[in-house]
């Protein structure tokens, strides 16, 4: 995967076991978000294979009913309050507000006092908490979260991490990118750095090989794999 002539993801391999979590760490610009976007089908990899629950990620309703993500910046419907946004998401997945526990979820995320507000009027931290509340409220089998700890205060981070651990305990899988190792550990996800995921660049010149135009047959397959799920 590259942006123009700049390679971002080269030779990346990653597996997220079902019911477990993986937290990808690494410095800014190393490709964490790009990896998450590729797994969410929001960005197409130049080459390689990505499998989510055995299938190719895409625009199918089955995929988006199984996968919930905060990789994209959120938008909000005009004229709808926080609580109504939550209810709309639950209704679309066949849940009622009471069954889904909307009020409890808003309470846990510290948003109960803002239930009647419209999302654009919230602070950036509150918007982040609302986005997380929405993806956790609706049923899903895989959560893909891009730096969920961002813009949260220490108390909020601890609460969200606990909820993510709870999500995995309930059988859900988790793939997240984060800069906060403490948060990742608290969420129960295995920490993996981008360097660990990345193999050697097959296009880079190798001093041990006399002819750089001949590919190394022992190099790992340059694919990102997510087949469990």
């Amino acid at each position: 995967m590259s942006y123009g002539s700049t390679p971002v993801l080269v030779n990346v391999g990653l597996t997220v076991p079902a019911g477990a979590g993986v937290c990808v760490t690494g410095e800014n610009g190393i490709g964490k978000s790009t990896l998450l976007r590729c797994v969410s089908s929001l960005q197409r990899a130049d080459s390689g294979t990505i499998r989510v629950f055995g299938g190719e990620p895409g625009d199918s309703p089955d995929f988006w009913r199984a996968v919930a993500t905060t990789v994209e910046p959120p938008t909000w419907y005009p004229g709808l309050t926080l609580r109504e946004h939550a209810e709309l998401v639950c209704r679309a997945h066949g849940q009622t507000a009471d069954d889904a526990g909307i009020d409890e979820a808003l309470e846990r995320f510290g948003l109960a006092g803002h239930a009647d507000a419209i999302p654009p009027s919230l602070s950036s931290g509150q918007k982040q908490r609302l986005t997380l509340a929405l993806v956790l409220l609706r049923p899903s089998s895989l959560l893909i979260l891009d730096e969920p700890e961002q813009r949260l205060d220490p108390d909020g981070r601890a609460k969200v991490a606990a909820m993510l651990a709870e999500y995995q305990a309930g059988g859900g899988s988790l793939l997240l990118a984060s800069h906060d190792d403490k948060f990742a550990v608290a969420s129960g996800a295995e920490i993996v750095s981008m360097e660990q995921l990345t193999g050697p660049d097959p296009t880079a010149p190798d001093p041990s090989v006399p002819d750089p135009t001949v590919p190394d047959p022992t190099a790992p397959d340059p694919t990102a794999r997510d087949d469990q799920p």
């Binding site: 625009d59 993500t69 938008t75 419907y77 004229g79 309050t81 997945h93 507000a97």
Partner: protein, 491 residues
């Protein structure tokens, strides 16, 4: 305390700095293009302009003329209030509003511009009303119209710094607008207004209004420094977004800003979405219910086509179709949000067919209600040939809804399309495609358009043809542009 810095040298410096990266004579070139364009458009549309400002058969009574003037004044005032009218450019709002310069000098150019523009609009409105009035009026009325326009700009400026005056003036303008329109509709449907006794001596009116305008202007200029910062920043954003919309040929910038601003001011209370309806239909219904004033104006506007009963049939036809689409657009903002960024649709996990089908219901009901009521009123007033015209509303409404939905799904203007070269110059394709998105579906109303344009009696066969065309057309639109196996809005 920081001393007040003279503004003139600052402005002169800004102009000089800007001039260094502009072509010589760019301003003159812009002025030439604008004046030439207006002249060409005026020549091309001279017949329409004549019909608007000076019809061959004037028809308005004195009361009707007064009502028309009231409507124009109400519209002008509300437009001025939306724009500011006291404002600065966005860069000036950032750099100069917080600088130690004279606020009066900073803000007075916008007041002068607003007063000048409102004066021109007032004169044009007075000229038009005079052209439509049966009794001939003095040309001094045009001067009075211009002075009233300036007074309205000054009133709007005063309202900007006085919240109570603002709400009172806005409410008065809306009531005046409604009453004026009601009087015009009543007169168009045969109501004979009472005679207005006595002549107004223009030789007295003009000096009095003129003196009043000068005094109000002096007070207005003195009062400028009182205009609160938040009001100036808001009007600066409005003016900037309006300019962006015009230069970028992207009307959604302005529409989105107005929508955002409207909801930011509202105090909402969460309610439960109707369980009997699909979720997105329930959301649209809630959105429609949350704008009662809009619903009320939409309901009142069903009488507007009556004003055009005497106009050429194509004007009435366009008004009917436009009214239906506007009524149907009441809840399409959510679709526009999804078209801009489908992140919420992915969260909802609904297919494009489910989304469009669910989002079509409320616009279809609103469009059908509007078209049925408007056609029924036209039928009752005898403006249409024999036939049950109101039944056509049940077909035209859903088509108008499909048109509104298609326009909302178009999202934003695409400026990456290749322009078309014509003998008149290059035509940008993106804005043209955007302008016709939705309008193209109105082709389904062809049976109605034909009978209206040809003034034919409406037969049950024609009603059946129109209803079938609408049903079939909408089904084809849904199946061709949506996918039952894909999340998002596109196929």
């Amino acid at each position: 305390m920081t001393a007040v810095v003279a503004l003139r040298p600052v402005r002169r410096w800004i102009r000089r700095a800007q001039a260094s990266h502009r072509d010589r004579g760019e301003l003159l070139g812009t002025v030439y293009t604008v004046v030439f364009s207006i002249a060409v458009i005026a020549v091309m549309a001279q017949d329409t302009l004549k019909a608007v400002f000076s019809p061959l058969v004037p028809h308005l009574s004195d009361v009707g003329a007064l009502a028309a003037a009231t409507v124009c004044a109400g519209l002008l005032f509300l437009a001025l209030r939306r724009l500011g009218p006291v404002s600065v450019t966005r860069p000036a709002a950032y750099f100069l509003l917080t600088a130690p310069v004279s606020r009066r000098r900073l803000l007075s150019p916008s007041l002068h511009a607003a007063a000048f523009g409102a004066g021109l609009a007032g004169a044009a409105a007075a000229f038009g009303v005079l052209g439509h009035a049966v009794t001939s009026g003095s040309l001094l009325m045009i001067v009075t119209g211009a002075l009233f326009g300036v007074l309205l700009a000054l009133l709007a400026s005063a309202a900007q710094s006085r919240p109570r005056l603002a709400s009172l003036a806005d409410a008065t303008a809306r009531v005046a607008l409604a009453l004026g329109l009601a009087a015009l509709v009543a007169e168009a449907t045969g109501w004979t207004p009472p005679e207005v006794g006595g002549e107004v001596a223009m030789s007295v009116v003009v000096p009095v209004v003129g003196a009043l305008t000068i005094i109000a202007f002096l007070f207005g200029v003195r009062d400028l420094a009182r205009t609160p910062n938040d009001e100036i920043l808001e009007s600066a954003k409005t003016a900037g977004t309006l300019a962006d919309s015009v230069y970028g040929i992207e009307p959604s910038f302005l529409a989105e800003m107005l929508e955002r601003r409207y909801w930011a001011r509202r105090r909402l209370r969460s309610t439960t979405l109707s369980r009997r309806l699909p979720p997105l239909t329930a959301q649209d219904l809630l959105l429609a219910r949350r704008r009662p004033a809009r619903l009320l104006w939409t309901a009142a506007s069903t009488a507007m086509p009556l004003l055009l009963a005497g106009a050429p049939r194509w004007v009435l036809t366009i008004a009917l179709l436009a009214g239906t689409v506007i009524a149907a657009r009441a809840t399409t903002a959510s679709l526009k949000t999804d078209a801009g960024n489908p992140v919420l649709l992915r969260l909802l996990g609904l297919t494009s067919r489910q989304v469009v089908r669910q989002r079509l219901w409320v616009p279809a009901v609103l469009g059908a209600a509007w078209a049925t009521a408007a056609l029924a009123l036209l039928q009752l007033s005898g403006a249409l040939p024999p036939g049950q015209w109101w039944l056509l509303g049940l077909a035209v409404g859903p088509i108008g809804a499909a048109s509104a939905v298609r326009a909302a799904r178009a999202g934003f203007v695409r400026n990456d399309l290749i322009p078309i070269d014509t003998p008149m110059g290059a035509v940008p394709t993106g804005p043209v495609v955007y302008a016709f998105a939705g309008v193209d579906l109105l082709i389904l109303t062809l049976p109605t358009v034909i009978v209206l344009l040809q003034d034919l009696p409406l037969t049950p066969t024609m009603i059946a043809v129109q209803l079938s065309t609408a049903w079939l057309g909408i089904q084809v639109y849904l199946s061709w542009t949506t996918d039952p196996e894909r999340v998002g809005l596109s196929k």
